[in-house]
């Protein structure tokens, strides 16, 4: 990545999106923040401007309930961008299985945001990047999408679907020299029901954002965060079965 970029940050109002936006702004890149709440967008934009006054920050509201509006948003992004466009997508909403059990609408809501919104947006912006014939796309996945656990399998399934879609998308975009990096963040942090006394350290969003940028710069396809999750995930895939054994 030699040239200056305009990073389109989906989910720019959440902690991970905010940390990523800071990371790229620190390196002198411009930022377009997309998010659902105007107030939150302003908050992140003000934060970036106070930290890095020389960086150009644009905010745009994204209505995830209206997927058809995305092509217009992409047009606006293209018009606002002064440099090569790259995308960081961390749109995510999380409900525990218990919450989903009480209200099935929450499952639909998770698919709408974690899967459909990202897939629609990336599909809509893909031609813009293909035209540039360069750029990076980073999508935040989750280890929850690797195996189903009793407390978060609905959330996990949204991520699993996204991971599969991204594999195909990555191959397609590679033809135009665009890298697509999926960073599977470990989910100790994101799902609330589990007794996490064993893992005292929750995921550090700043370190995760830093790692995402680093992996994209290296053109990685799939990476885990933290890196050692790559070693534990193959074993953790058996956890659902072990869980069953323990219950017995």
């Amino acid at each position: 990545m030699n040239n200056k970029r305009t990073w389109v940050v989906l989910g720019g109002t959440d902690i991970i999106g905010r940390c990523f936006a800071r990371e790229v702004a620190k390196a002198g890149n411009d930022v377009i923040l997309l998010g659902k709440s105007r107030d939150d967008l302003m908050l992140t934009a003000d934060d970036l401007r106070a930290r890095y006054p020389e960086v150009d920050v644009v905010t745009m509201e994204l209505d995830t309930s209206n997927l058809d509006s995305f092509s217009k948003t992409v047009e606006q992004c293209e018009a606002a961008a002064k440099n090569i466009i790259s995308v960081f997508s961390a749109l995510e909403t999380v409900y525990t299985q218990k919450e989903c059990g009480k209200d099935l609408g929450k499952i639909k809501n998770m698919f709408q945001i974690n899967y459909f919104s990202q897939v629609y947006f990336l599909s809509a912006i893909a031609p813009v990047l293909q035209k540039q014939a360069c750029g990076e796309i980073i999508v935040l996945g989750s280890t929850a999408g690797e195996y189903g656990m009793p407390d978060n399998y609905a959330f996990g399934s949204t991520k699993a679907a996204l991971h599969v879609w991204l594999q195909g998308f990555q191959a397609q975009m590679a033809q135009n020299h665009i890298s697509v990096t999926t960073v599977k963040a470990d989910d100790w942090d994101t799902v609330g029901e589990r007794k996490t006394a064993l893992f005292q350290k929750p995921l550090d969003p700043r370190a995760c954002a830093e790692a995402c940028l680093y992996y994209a710069q290296k053109g990685e396809k799939i990476r885990y965060f933290p890196w050692y999750s790559a070693l534990t995930v193959p074993f953790r895939r058996y956890l659902p079965y072990l869980n069953k054994q323990f219950k017995k």
Partner: protein, 443 residues
Amino acid sequence: MHWYEIKLGGKGYTNSGLSQVCRPDRVSDIAKYLEQVGKNGVIARGSGSSYADQTVNADGAVMMSGRLDCIRSFDEKTGELICEPGVTLKTITEIFAPRGFMLSVVSGSGQHTLGAAIAANMVGQNAHKRMSLAKYVNWIDVVLADGEIVRASHTENEELFKAVVGGQGLIGFIALISVTLLKRPEENVLVERRRINNLNDLMEALKSARKNADFCSVWLDTSAPADSVGRSILTTASFTKEPCGEPLFSLPKIKWHLPHFALYLASLPVFKNLRYRLSGSISKKVEPYESFLYLSDKVKVLSQKGVYQLRISFSEAEGPQAIRRILTELSQTRISACRAFLVLTKEDTLSYLGSALRGYTISLDFIRRRGLEDFLKHLIMVAGEHNGCVSLQNDALLEPRHLFVMYKNLEKFIKVRETYDPQRKFDSDFGRRLFLKEKKNEQ
């Protein structure tokens, strides 16, 4: 909005507890989380580097401020920074030092959050000049037990301000801060290190440091023999126009993660003796201001055995005598501190629970071992006899009876707490340890 069940502890590994933990993403979420708080209340937690039970709330709730880390605005003309409490001191330095601004307090570590630095009324190596951070705080927005956000400052809701500053999170949650960053006079500092033979010489040297130096701290050899009690290395620093010398070679910047053993080594008399002897009688060096800061962050000792810190403030009049007595006792009993530092302070009038007096603050770290607690309680008694004040920041051993003797504004603090949080929605193991009596009195 999620709660997580996590076992949290203090940095010193002396206290820990299983708590329901939340991490609000935005200021407006704080009140919503507060509504869900049940038994044992909730306590705010920044980066969790208080040594003991200040941020531990067993069977209760803990609210982490790490995600409230937005900077709202910065005024280059006045230096006014408005930000959320989770912004760390290091972040502020990283962003604003290159623009010629600095925080008024220079602490040992940059990992601390700004909210916590105010709630713990942090003092640093320049406390003899600048006192604590609170002096430069224009106002704070505090979320109270009922979810209402109230602005407090030196002039508005002054009593609330004085109780929240240094109040260890027991009054409310600091949600927004306006603080003035100072114009940094120069880019570099001239750092001078001097080996000092005994306490009398040290006190003389400190007199001139109080007048002339911008920063001052003393490493103390706590295992020095009785005839050279107070043997130490004095570090002073002042801003200078002089340029930095180019080093012949520079070591790679590594953040050392040392095991417990390193801390144990540091407490051995042999090591202290070596450190003292190896330091030149006097050395001077011009350094960039940023590299002079946050020395504790360069070495991280991972000790899970437990470390106690005792930080005591003495007046100028009582200080030399009291410090001599403490150091002599340490030397005689051969209980060696793994870290011992002395800084100069000004009287803290900005906080009801402010411990600093115009004089000296000695800070002693000890590795946990059998019998140590009794000895430290004895030192607390010695501090009381010399009208000293034990700081609450990292304390693990104070008892309610000590508070009444050492903190002259304690009644005022209790009154404010009673007014704003009669149900003790904000509470912690620390709060229950020290204010238990107050509760009993009520009953």
